[in-house]
Structure formats: C-alpha cells, structure tokens
Symmetry: C2
Subunit: 351 residues, 2 copies
Amino acid sequence: MPSIKKVAEVAGVSVGTVSHVITGSVRLSETLRTKVGAAIRELNYHPNHVARSLKTSKTRTLGIIVPDMTISFYPQIIRGAEAASRQHGYSLIAVNSDDDVELQKERLSLLRSQRVEGILIAVAAGPTPLGQISRLIDAGIAVVCLDRIPDRVPVDSVSVDDVQAAEMGTAHLLGAGYRRIAIVTGPLSLKNERRRVCGYRKALAAAGLTGDDELIWEADLRPERAAALCRDHLRANSRRPDALFCSNGPTALGALRALRDAGLQMPADIGFATFDELTVDELFSPAITTVVQPAYDIGCRAADMLLRRIEGLEKSETPITVRLPATLKIRESSRSFEKNDTISGFAMLPK
Amino acid sequence: MPSIKKVAEVAGVSVGTVSHVITGSVRLSETLRTKVGAAIRELNYHPNHVARSLKTSKTRTLGIIVPDMTISFYPQIIRGAEAASRQHGYSLIAVNSDDDVELQKERLSLLRSQRVEGILIAVAAGPTPLGQISRLIDAGIAVVCLDRIPDRVPVDSVSVDDVQAAEMGTAHLLGAGYRRIAIVTGPLSLKNERRRVCGYRKALAAAGLTGDDELIWEADLRPERAAALCRDHLRANSRRPDALFCSNGPTALGALRALRDAGLQMPADIGFATFDELTVDELFSPAITTVVQPAYDIGCRAADMLLRRIEGLEKSETPITVRLPATLKIRESSRSFEKNDTISGFAMLPK
DNA sequence: CTGTTAGCGCCTTCAA
DNA sequence: TTGAAGGCGCTAACAG
C-alpha cells in the first residue's frame, strides 16, 4: 500500500507538496497538481486515514448504537444518519447492543477507542446506567440519543413525539367507535413506552372515558412473549377489549399472532392499530392501521444535531429535545364496519 | 482524552510497561498490573486504536457493502458477519451502495482509506466493473463476495444455492398441481437471478414441461416496477399463468400488489411462492410460501472465510465458492385446494 | 522484569 | 510556491 512518500518520489516533489494537493490547503501551481495527480493514479494511492486521524486527532467518524438493526425501524434510522453524516464528510459505524446494557457498554467503549467524534444511541431497554452516557459527554464525545431516550440524563435527543403519536392512534380508534381499547406496550422501563401510555390515556380522557388499568398490557420486545401475554389476556374472563393498540412493531407482531390464534377477525371482532409499519402492512389482510414514525428523518436530524455539536455550531447549554410528529395510516384493521361503517379517515371524536 | 503517557505517569511506570499490560504481550508482576489497572480506571483511559493501527498497520476492521440495508435480508447478513468478526476481535463497518456502481466505487475507496483489512460485498446490480474488485485484491485487501456474486471475477464467495433454491420452490408449485408457472425475477444482469431462472427451468424440465419464455418476467428490484410489470402481464390476453414464483423479496412485494389489484385470490385463483421471508409472512392472509435463505449464516460464513484469508489460514489459490442450501416454508399461498387438495408438504412431482 | 526509543504515515507550521 | 522537520499515541525491539 503506497504512502505519501512514494507518491512524492514518483511525482518528484516533497511529501509536503503532495499533502498540500490532497488536502487542498494551499494553492499550488497547476503543473504540480497534475504531476502529483498522475502519480496518485499511477500508484492507486489512497490516503491513510489512520495516520491522518492520528495527526489531526479527528477521525471524521461517528458511531451509532441500536438495539437490533434487524428490526426494520432501525435500518431506516441508520440510513438517515448515514446520509447526513456523509454530507458532512463523516463516516458512520453502526453496531448493535442486543438490548443488553453490558454489551452496550462494551460497544461504547470500543467506539471510544476507535475515537469516533460523536455517538448516536438508542439506549438498551434495561435501566441504563446514567454514567454510561454522561461519562462520554464528560470525556468530550458528543452524544445524541434517538428513538429511545434515557431518563434523567441531560442529553440532546431526537425521537418521535410519543404522546402525540399514541394519542392520535388511540383517538382514531375511539373515533371509529371502539370504546374498550387495550394498549399492548413494550417494557415500561423505557420512557417512550411510558409516554405512549400517556398519550393513550390522554385520548381516552379527551373522549370522556376513564382508563382501566387492566387494559394496559405490558409485554417486552419479543413477539413470542407479547403473543403469550395477549393470549392470556384475551382468554381471561374479564370483559374482552374491543380494540388493541400496540405501541411498537415487535409487540404488534405478537399481538397479531394472538388474535389469529384466538380466531378473532379484524375489524369485525376487534379493532387494531399499531406503532410502526410492519414492513408490508398494506398487504396484510386486513391491512393494518399504523402510526408511522419518521424513522429516516429521526436519523437525519439526530446526526445533524450531533455534527453541529461537534463542529461547535450548537452552543446551547441545555439539552435540545426534538420531537418529530408521527403520521397515521388508516387502513382496514380499524374500520369498525358493524358499529359505524360511515366513519373513514381520522374522524373527530364523537362530541 | 488521556494517553498512555498519562497513565504511565499516574501509575509511576514507563509507557512501555503500560503498553505491555494492555496488550498482555509480556508477563509482568502482579503489583505492576494492578497499579496500572488502577491508573487506567482512574483516568478512564481508552487505548487509542488509531495510534495502535498506525503502529501495527493492522486496523482489525472489516467492511461490508450491501445494496440497501433497508431490505430485511441484509441486516441479517450484517448481523451474522458482525458476530463472526467480533469473535475474532474485529469490528465491522457497514455501508450501503444504493445499488449504484459509482457509489459503490466511492465506498470501496473510503473503506480502503480507512484501511479495513478485508471487505465483504454484495455487488451493485449494474454491470460491476471487474476492476473495482480485482484491484482491491491486487492491493492485498481480502475480499469475499456474498449473496450477489459478480461474473468473471475470481473471488471467494458465499451465497445461497440459487439453482437448488429456485428448483425447490418451482418443484413445490408443480407438486401442488400448478402447471403454468411464471417466474418474476430481478434484473438478469445479476448472476443470481440468472441462476434462479436456471433452477426454475430445471424443475419444469424434470416435470416434463417445456418452459415458455413468455413466463419469464424480468423486473427490477423496486416493488412498484415489479407491480406494474405483473399487472401488465396479467392483463395481457395471452393465457394467464396459474402460479407466480418470485425470485426475490422486493419483487414479490410488487407481484403481491398486482395480484391484489387484479382481484386474484391465492391459492384459489393463482398459486404463489417467493424467495425471501416478507418479514411477517406468516401473518399475511393467506400466509406466503417462501424459499428462505440462511442470511445470518451467509454473513457468518463469509466473514469467517474473509478472516481466514486475512490471517493466512486459507491458502487456496483458486477462489472458494460456498453455496448454502435454502429451506422451503410451505404455507397457504401455494396450496391448490381446487385442483388437488390432498397434497401437502413438499410433495414429489407427479411422475 | 522494566525502561527507552525508533518509527508507523501524515499534516502543519516555519523557513527558504 | 515549495521543502524540511516535529510529533500525534502507540508498539515492539532492545537495553538495562
């Protein structure tokens, strides 16, 4: 692998000159530039970023940690972050935490050793040790949280507006005529999930309903577990809900399995809506009503903010919180034909 | 960010000693080790991989380029590759090529500059300039192709056994009683796709059928395009196929839309099977019969092979080709109830 | 067993 | 406009 020295040699100039044409830091004569360019091509020279980073102590690299990039929501976020990073000349290293606080710690440590200049993170579901993140910030590494926002850590963050999103979904179900709506959530140790429950409650209250805590079903993020939970609840002798609202994709998958196993038809027997596109929602039968998060944008915005911090453009002392609105895709699973088959779209709450 | 020097200072030893305890290269006294360890923790020291890489000219980093990690198949591959890499103490940088040969070239160049020690790549769909890959190899960077294997480039590769997989899928449809089976493919500029067509033909031939070229529908990898193509074909006045076999996920999504729009029911009006899990296949109605690729394993094996090359364990001069078998998940979309409702499972071809 | 030191490849003053 | 040289943090001889 040729070095700058070899290039200089072939071009018949000094290394300093080669460096100058590469970085474009100094104006050189046309002749020199072409001569050097020719040598570079001839040798198929690729500047050594490792050496450059060591010298400048700038790696132009960002890291992003997500629980599991196999969940379709995250690759979109990563793509957004990648696009924004690249636009600023940065690379992005994406790693998975497997929703495991210990692994997350290791990954964080590795990223630090790799000297990434900033980190984007959707924290693992367990109770995140506050130190893990604030230590980074103290060490001068910029951090922006996305999607999953940790409690009580003062840090910039970008996520969907959980409350609004859940409220919108729930309100839609209410507008469609459903009255006894259960919410199937992920672990309530996650702030998002709590906020979503909050939005759900708000919508109920706005409709003059008092929530029933028995209708808050806390699952985790494994579809099988959620399925089991829902099956149990649906079998219980207490009055069955007339609609299910799921606060995330994996949970929804589980819930759908439970409905299928219970032989319940949507929307006739039970209404259904969920956070997150199930990748191919529109081809489900019936198509599933979905609260869609702007995943790509979340990644984009988060990376932008991170870059602003790194480049010193953002000086705000207090953490910045960005909440992007979700959108509602109304499809067949929440059309309550029997009860009210004229309602369509995002109807207003009755009275 | 503290350096090894600072650690040495705090611990009251020389930098060499600190380096030794970190790398574990030399046996040191217990006392020293604990003293240094304490200093490391106190300073929250993280070894600078950049400097280490420069010194050792080993980055312990691999790169992987996929067309689009938003396609659910690829994150699984990446996860597999990540797991294998990590097991050998390597990191993995994943980037997207957007199926664009130019972008792919840029990414490759960046990865080179970052001095990754090896590259895993699923080549972009366009005609891949042979040079792009062979140049890397010439430069001493190990390369293993996965999933998408380029033509006429001598390089190690890992992918599903396309012929076997397509043959299995097609044979299953034949076994279910379908006779006029169309195959909806991605761009035939991709070797995989051609091999899949090959497997399809083989299965037809084995059943004593002569393929009809009008039933080979070449789409690209955008669902909308595939949908349009299928709609056109289904509307054409030539005799309609009684089953569709899709050779990849995005194409299948498009085909399913076309079927829905045409009001065709599976499996009654038309049989259906496809490569690749549509993420939530089992919840489609009807559930879709699928040829499942061992994506995680492909990533794993490919990374393993790459590492073996890097570590000089694999000396084979000729490229190694690994083809992993696919498995068939028979579900409702290919059960031809009307024609033959006793067939179930992967039935033998009727003589 | 522990300390000293020479670079790895590059960028960036500073001088010519 | 061009060249010379120091040093980023670390590892691996080698010396003590």
